[in-house]
Symmetry: C2
Subunit: 569 residues, 2 copies
């Protein structure tokens, strides 16, 4: 192939495609330059003056390297990889570092295998990380467990690009033997290890980094960013649906710029469709005052460097011809998207067909619970003060507030208050485990809502002010094989099926998004605070690696103490 | 090992060594920070507040990552790798990207093997590049030929880090089949390819880069640097003995900084001993106005990134404990040097023993010529105008000047003029080839001088104003097994033996340097222009890949036309 590239570059043969009269981002020098961009086969072969078998006039447009999402869980889109690609590729994203942590928590490595095979024929590079923390903590019941030995066996395989975000930071810092086994195996295989260490600093951060972990997407302050970058980490600026820290971009300086990446982590279909993907992050970053070429560099070259993606992430000879042609560096509307030198999207529409989607039995029918009854949701509390979880808009950090509770007939009465009952029902192994707690400030009233997406073990999260509605909501989720549900106190049911692991839908993005919007709107109509993501915010209430107070199937969990806690205050 | 690092980082166990009260360069953020640096085993494990089994007070000192020389031919030091290390490690260099191009041109892959084995037990990481262009051009006779097939066979071996500087840029641009074979083989093996493309630009540069070549150390202008960096190259700032382009540092901007590296390429022992190695480059860069942390970043992190040296080139947890502790960021005097966590040099002196040096027979006795006689140096020229080579101080580019010549008895008479005779005598295969030419402006008078270092085929270069002295000089080089020689017209001989391939000495650095200085001084005393390097400048007169006019064993060569040329003007 090198011969073809050289000859097209030298002009001995004609290029396959030439983007004529292009302005383009030179991410090596941080400037916009001009020149024809010549492509032969899958690579850019030259910038200068070229003619090609096919020529596209790019006058007035700007050519950028295809965007790289540095860290994403496809599952959070609730879409199959094929349909996920149909939304993000037309937005200009051509590669993702995908951590199939969610589906693996439900289905084990069969979940990884599903993502891999479903991604095989789409024009998007899906670099698959082997999830490192399945389950994320030993305090909850997941559908699968990947121990040190499992990681050893799998990480050597070519299909795994690296080891996914190491959320069990206490396990690393304490040198837990099974954790060490995972880290050693990844290093022996020469694979990168992603990190996740919110608010970890000082000697604890040093210890965490001695696991050979190189990225973090959980930074929340200037000091945290400065410390993490100075200690060798790459820091992802995150533009998820529930979690976003794009404002961290204000800490980018010319000197530390190369250590910033852009990721979406968790972003659902509606946002991908309506707002966008990395393109939306770029838009907002530039709107926030970041130099557009710097923003693009973070989303392209920096990610390529961090993840060792050679000859990618820039517009230069011998670089992969993953290109996004945008209207301008303010709106970032993608006019054309090229993957491996081929035009794969135009005017925001995919030019590839995703109507035939891979769907193995392994990932279907994953909700295993006994029939729930109203009494399952009785909450007994001694005394009249209890810990209630709270949540802030735009983050996944929860708080703990001491609230007054009223006991009525051996159950906490929440109706008419700003407190809801919360329950996490184990749904993988039919253990019958139900974790129970209180949740303040969500706003929902008049029934129950529930979801089978509950980071990271993906049990059923239910909330409500009505025990019968809560029981019914759980039972509906079992019936539909997973998804989202609202049960009004009147008995009226609204549901959305997510048949793939209870996390994603095998349907097309458009119809799913329509139905998804409807149920989300229903939740807001029933009082959910519009500053929150109606369902996706719920999905993080059980994520026992993020402070402060969380609820898992085995009970209420104090993340800062990394131990279970009583609900009584 | 990860367990040891983590436990030392967390404070569960004591660090092996702690650099207390250190100021250190944070090359990720471009600033100087403060903190104890804790080392366990071969790695840095933490920065903060630490105590160790051994503690070194670094108050008033500054800790830097060990320097990485991004491109060097050890052979140019005329020292064995062991003695080379004894000079550069105490200066703060802990890793080099070494291209054993010279010894390989003389001895074939046995030369690579020699460098590798001689480097095995020294505290210096020698990343060995497989020379790509042996010989550099098909126009000269070398001791060995490494064709495409040889590269295919060798590049897959673990001992080769990458493919050495691809000097045959016309071969790449023209997609020469044997060249393609080499490039494809390196890519298939996942190895980096170094470049060498002086003044190559435009579509020709695009074609060259389509060989997958990533570095260049031959830039001479702002435009050349801008084009090469914008097209994806890393640019080495070079601080050699004959060739230096440190002034290119003025083109470093905050945006393109990460693409600059520092190298020495060719630097001889006297400069290493008297002036220094990368430390001297840093001194001069800072003197020239470059921010010291930027200079250090180019010589450390940037090189590590370019060459894919993971967890190296910075001071951070899990990074290799290659550290240079300097007095300040102006003088860069190395007080302590650590390699893999061990103190290996102090106050400029090595703490390792290099008295036992590896010396295989393969690299000895490499001067094979028949006895030379005065008539071998008769130069017949038709007419009275001829092309003479000229040379500029500080570079390896030669010029071509048309000079008046006087024919006396069928030979050009040069005595008493500013023109010298120049000859390149083939010394590998006893072909009897002698290339003959004229050389203006060197200044030497009253005899002959010669050297068996003659880039890149390392035949014998002789110059003089006396045919008999030239013959005798060649014969002395044969007798001593290679090296440098001066023969005065009186018959008096001064010589320095370089027994390893006629390029390097098996002696200790100190005594070699003393004798080397003496013969160099003798050359200056006999008139050599002091702005030039008395012997090393000669060594580039046959380098037929650098413009403009060169002399090889097969005749006078016009590099711009890439063809032989007549001496007659």
């Amino acid at each position: 192939m090198i011969e073809k590239y050289i000859n097209a570059a030298s002009g001995k043969t004609q290029a396959d495609v030439v983007l004529k009269n292009a302005s383009y981002a030179d991410v090596f020098c941080g400037v916009i330059r001009k020149g024809d961009i010549a492509v032969a086969g899958d690579k850019i072969v030259g910038i200068g003056n070229y003619s090609g078998r096919e020529e596209i006039d790019c006058s007035g447009l700007t050519v950028l390297p295809g965007y790289i999402d540095g860290h994403v869980h496809i599952e959070s889109s609730q879409l199959s990889p094929e349909e996920f690609a149909s939304l993000i590729v037309p937005r200009g994203t051509t590669a993702i570092i995908a951590d199939p942590h969610e589906i693996t928590n439900v289905c084990g490595t069969a979940g990884c295998d599903y993502i891999l095979k479903a991604s095989a024929n789409i024009p998007l590079d899906v670099k698959l990380q082997l999830p490192s923390c399945v389950p994320a903590t030993p305090f909850e019941t997941s559908g699968a467990v990947l121990g040190g030995k499992d990681v050893e066996e799998n990480i050597v395989k070519d299909e795994f690009f690296g080891l996914g975000e190491f959320m069990n930071y206490p396990g690393v810092i304490n040198a837990d033997p099974d954790v060490l086994k995972k880290l050693e195996a990844a290093h022996a295989a020469g694979k990168i290890i992603d990190g996740h260490a919110p608010a970890v600093g000082g000697n604890a951060l040093n210890a965490y980094l001695c696991g050979g972990i190189v990225t973090d997407h959980e930074c929340n302050s200037e000091d945290e960013i400065a410390e993490k970058i100075s200690k060798g980490m790459y820091v992802h600026i995150r533009h998820g649906s529930s979690t976003h820290n794009l404002s961290n971009a204000k800490y980018i300086t010319p000197s530390n710029m190369r250590r910033f990446l852009v990721c979406t982590d968790d972003r659902h279909a509606a946002d991908l469709k309506d707002k966008g993907h990395i393109d939306d992050a770029l838009r907002k970053l530039v709107e926030g005052g970041l130099d557009p070429v710097v923003a693009v560099t973070c989303a392209t070259l920096n990610a390529a460097e961090c993840y060792g993606l050679k000859f990618r992430g820039a517009i230069a000879p011998f670089y992969l011809a993953d290109l996004t042609v945008v209207d301008n560096l303010k709106n970032f509307n993608a006019k054309y998207v090229f993957k491996d030198g081929k035009l794969v999207a135009k005017d925001g529409k995919p030019l590839f067909d995703t109507s035939s989607r891979y769907l193995p039995k392994d990932v279907l029918n994953t909700v295993h619970i006994k029939n729930l009854v109203p009494d399952d949701f009785i909450l007994k509390i001694n005394g009249n003060k209890a810990k209630a979880m709270t949540i802030e808009a735009g983050g996944v950090v929860t708080g703990c507030e001491i609230v007054e509770v009223k006991n009525v007939g051996g159950d906490v009465a929440v109706k008419g208050t700003d407190i809801l009952k919360l329950a996490v029902v184990e749904r993988h192994k039919m253990t019958g485990n139900i974790g129970r707690g209180l949740f303040k400030g969500y706003g929902f009233k008049g029934g129950a809502m529930g979801i089978t997406i509950a980071h990271d073990s993906h049990n059923i999260i239910l909330l409500g002010d009505d025990n019968a509605a809560m029981a019914k909501a759980g039972n509906v989720l079992k019936e539909i094989g997973g998804g989202m549900v609202i049960v009004e106190s009147s008995g009226k049911v609204h549901s959305l099926t997510l048949d793939i692991g209870g996390l994603m839908s095998s349907r097309d993005a458009e119809s799913l998004q329509r139905d998804s919007k409807a149920i989300i709107e229903r939740a807001y109509a029933m009082g959910v605070d519009r500053r929150l993501e109606a369902f996706m915010s719920l999905a993080f209430l059980s994520l026992a690696v993020i402070p402060k107070l969380k609820l898992v199937d085995k009970g209420l969990f104090d993340v800062e103490k990394f131990a279970f806690t009583n609900i009584e205050a």
